[in-house]
């Protein structure tokens, strides 16, 4: 950092800071090495793209969650929100078929509806938290239940299925790609790059960290705390919409079990990546690494035969606790 001349540039605790920065990367590297040693198929192109494509839904949501958490908030509703958006998207597309016919028009209308619905849901969460002055945990716990119940109601307890012909048109959005890279991965990468720039290089990102670090300081520094907070929830909602429009073509259906526990996976990815749960510091690339780590654990368990893949959740849990333990050790 090129700072003041009479301030020495040499960080005294360099090694520790380094470790904190590269910790998640180191963990990722270890996992990859483990994967290679267990199964030669691990490094195959199809396996890696498969893992990344599956991780991209959680990843895109987790990038939104990084902003929310950095600003000192939390959004528990994202999994249920994804389910209800998926359900409504499917209903909108099915409903539009008689007027628009089968084709990309319907699909694009559905995508647009998905993103808009995400924005609306995020705005609702954000307004309740900032204008209603209710704890984020409570608001999003409430909407988590509301959204989950709504999708069950809309599906009448069963499954909402996209019209088969439209699903055919839509399917390439998940299964195809550009130059062999599946679209979900491309979108994930674009959202990550955009998120990193937003966090690191804009006033919005700086304001998120300031609010999460100390809301009073932010207020006294003429930051519109409520608006920045609201924006993080809207952004979160929009990104849930983006994730869903990539997810729907995968199965072409939505049910009450869609997106179950996504909120926890997203939060776990954020925390493993080095963002502090109580806010004040966040990094997008760390979140990306965290989400990929979670994806790889499941993948590696599937590729070997020693340990039951049913223990996936246990391993993820251990990693989360370890990540936080290491973070704490480095903050004296």
């Amino acid at each position: 950092m090129s700072a003041a001349s009479d301030i020495s540039e040499k960080p005294k605790r360099g090694f520790r800071l380094e470790l904190k920065t590269v910790g998640p990367l180191l963990a990722l590297l270890l996992l990859v090495l483990l994967g290679i040693s267990l199964n030669e198929n691990f490094l195959s192109y199809s396996n890696l793209t498969n893992v990344l494509a599956r991780s991209s839904f959680i990843g895109i949501i987790a990038i939104g969650a990084t902003f929310v958490i950095t600003a000192g908030g939390i959004d528990l509703s994202v999994g249920s929100m994804a389910a209800v958006i998926a359900g409504l998207m499917i209903m909108v597309m099915n409903w539009l078929i008689p007027t628009m016919g089968i084709g990309w028009g319907v699909v694009l209308a559905g995508m647009l509806a998905g993103i808009l619905l995400g924005g609306v849901a995020g705005t609702f969460n954000g307004l309740m938290i900032t204008r209603g002055r209710i704890e984020a945990f409570i608001v999003t716990l409430g909407t988590m239940g509301i959204f989950r119940s709504l999708v069950t109601f809309l599906a009448n307890g069963g499954t909402l299925s996209l019209n088969f012909d439209v699903a055919d048109v839509y399917r390439p959005v998940y299964y195809d790609g550009l130059l062999g890279v599946p679209y979900p991965i491309i979108v994930f990468a674009l959202v990550a790059i955009g998120g990193e720039i937003l966090m690191r290089r804009t006033a919005f990102g700086r304001h998120c960290a300031a609010i999460g670090s100390n809301e009073q300081v932010a207020r006294y520094s003429s930051i519109n705390v409520d608006n920045v907070r609201l924006l993080t929830y809207i952004l979160q909602g929009l990104l849930v919409g983006v994730a869903v429009l990539l997810y729907v073509p995968r199965l072409g259906s939505a049910s009450s079990t869609t997106g179950v526990l996504w909120e926890l996976e997203a939060i776990a990815g954020v925390i493993i990546g080095g963002t502090t749960l109580k806010g004040g510091y966040g990094r997008i690339w760390g979140t990306v690494v965290g989400v990929v780590i979670l994806g790889l654990i499941g993948n590696i368990l599937n590729l070997q035969s020693l340990i039951s893949p049913y223990l996936n959740g246990a391993f993820q849990g251990v990693i989360i606790i370890l990540a936080v333990l290491l973070q704490r050790g480095k903050r004296t």
Binding site: A3, I7, K12, V217
Partner: protein, 512 residues
């Protein structure tokens, strides 16, 4: 226990050739220190002199790198994490360590609750808490929640807590930094009561007059070195100050340059009513330093926050350069060239976990945008300028601001406020808890700003500061203007008379 005057009792707690390093950085060099029962021993020194580290070692929170601790004549290793409290060594922190949501009685017995069959004896604890309060002659309801108490009352609770633990050595880190004159007097009475019972009191303070009044002996530290330990009777405030900074402090306050008599009014306040403000009117002229004196809670901060839009204004009129304004958000007042610098630098002023640069530019981030993106190079240039202008000293620019000394934090906050290039600056307790050397720097900066034509309001509980620095002084009492002093009227006695309500400048609306 009564300690006869003149015959030094054996030390209860002593430090023998204590050194301390954090990593490679030495902060204390071979310090000798001791305290006897019934004695008040003050530790003074500039920020970064090693005072806080020394008391942390004396209370077991930090272990010395070399040297030994003596307790009751025996060499001991003090247990860490505050466990030395069980030996009767109690540290009262600068930042008060009370759980805001507990009651007073809960706080006093925290960690050693009275229990019967595993259940809390709530009634008994309340009774004893009340008894402790009575021995202190303070009236605090044992059932009151900590967050409803004033800062001074919280401190009394801390002292009550210490007493109920049979403290033999009470260590206080700047106990008076946040107290008003009256509250300080009450605290000193408590300390005298404690010493009369044989309790040894170690305290850190930056206020030399307090040290002269209270302490029996004074130990001066400078740059981690022991400079002197002397009986207070042999000292004058000047000689202490000189030992602290190692240089003459002849001109603590810069000479006053009165603003022109016909200087225009830049800020006018008429009949302001807001939370904590009952009715106040005053004018601030261009190039003027206007002091705001009064007891803590008299509404000085509330006035400032209502003016800049941090708190809601019920009624009244505010004019800037003659034009009426109505700020509802801080951003608007900053835009208009009116900046407020909070007194709570750790809670409201600075992001302690972040580096110098993001802190400096937080208020004015918009100025460092290039095509919508942050221009970190421009931020770094701003930091370079501020470091030079305000003499901010830090190991490196990435060090978390929370690790800077109070004086450097204050200068950084001043730099942050000045980044918005305000014409009017309201500084709330601009020198709270910082050393004499830095105070002097800040006084000169304030005077220089006024000479440049900036107009400044200084809210301060340090009477000397108001007297030494300000052209006129508004004295507030219970949300109202109690008096306005000018020129030779600005004396300690006169300010006190208005602040305490002995004298009042008529109930007719005297506009200033």
């Amino acid at each position: 226990m009564i300690i006869a005057q003149g015959t030094p009792a054996p030390a209860i707690l002593s430090a023998n050739r204590i050194s301390k390093s954090f990593g490679e950085i030495p902060v204390l060099f071979s310090i000798d220190f001791d305290i006897r029962p019934g004695e008040v021993h003050a530790i003074i020194g500039e920020n970064g002199a090693g005072k806080s580290t020394l008391i942390k070692i004396l209370s077991g929170i930090e272990q010395p790198t070399s040297g030994s601790i003596g307790f009751d004549g025996q060499t001991v290793v003090l247990p860490p994490n505050g466990a030395a409290e069980s030996m009767g060594i109690v540290l009262i922190h600068q930042e008060q360590n009370l759980a805001e949501h507990l009651t007073v009685a809960d706080s006093i017995f925290l960690g050693r609750e009275l229990k019967k069959f595993g259940f809390l004896e709530v009634g008994e604890m309340r009774k004893r808490a009340r008894a402790v309060m009575e021995t202190l002659h303070v009236r605090i309801d044992p059932d009151a929640r900590i967050n409803t108490l004033s800062v001074a009352d919280k401190q009394m609770v801390e002292i009550a807590k210490a007493i109920s633990r049979d403290a033999r050595v009470l260590i206080m880190d700047e106990p008076t930094a946040v107290l008003s004159v009256g509250e300080t007097e009450t605290l000193f009475e408590q300390i005298r009561r404690l010493t009369a019972r044989g309790v040894a009191v170690i305290f850190i303070s930056h206020k030399l007059d307090e040290i002269m009044e209270l302490a029996d002996r004074v130990t001066v530290l400078r740059d981690g070195q022991w400079i002197a330990t002397v009986g207070t009777e042999a000292l004058t405030p000047d000689s202490i100050a000189q030992m602290m900074v190692g240089r003459e402090l002849s001109n603590l306050y810069p000479p006053k340059h009165e603003p022109d008599v016909d200087a225009p009014v830049v800020l006018g306040v008429r009949n302001l009513v807001a939370t904590g403000v009952k009715d106040i009117s005053f004018d601030l002229r261009k190039g003027e330093i206007l002091g705001f004196a009064g007891l803590i809670g008299s509404g000085r901060t509330a006035v400032a926050e209502a003016i800049v839009g941090l708190s809601h204004r019920d009624s009244g009129e505010i004019t800037l350069d003659g034009k009426p304004v109505n700020f509802t958000r801080v951003a608007q007042s900053v835009e208009a060239g009116l900046a407020y610098m909070t007194k709570d630098r750790k809670g409201k002023g600075l992001l302690l976990n972040m580096g110098l640069r993001p802190n400096l530019t937080l208020l004015t981030l918009k100025r460092h945008l290039k095509a919508g993106f942050l221009d970190t190079a421009s931020e770094s240039r701003a930091l370079e300028r501020a470091v030079r202008r305000f003499d901010i000293r830090a190991r490196d620019a990435t060090v978390a601001v929370g690790r800077l000394s109070g004086g450097n934090q204050q200068k950084l906050m001043l730099g942050k406020t000045m980044e918005s290039e305000p014409d009017i600056i309201i500084m709330d307790e601009p020198t709270r808890g910082i050393d004499v050397g830095t105070k002097q720097q800040i006084y000169h900066i304030i005077a220089a700003l006024a000479a440049e034509g900036k107009s400044i309001i200084v809210i301060s509980s340090e009477m000397q500061e108001v007297i030494g620095l300000c052209h006129r002084v508004v004295v507030m009492r219970e949300g109202r203007l109690a008096g306005l002093l000018e020129g030779a009227e600005i004396t300690e006695a006169e300010i006190m008379r208005y602040a305490a309500g002995i004298k009042q400048s008529g109930h007719d609306e005297r506009s200033v």
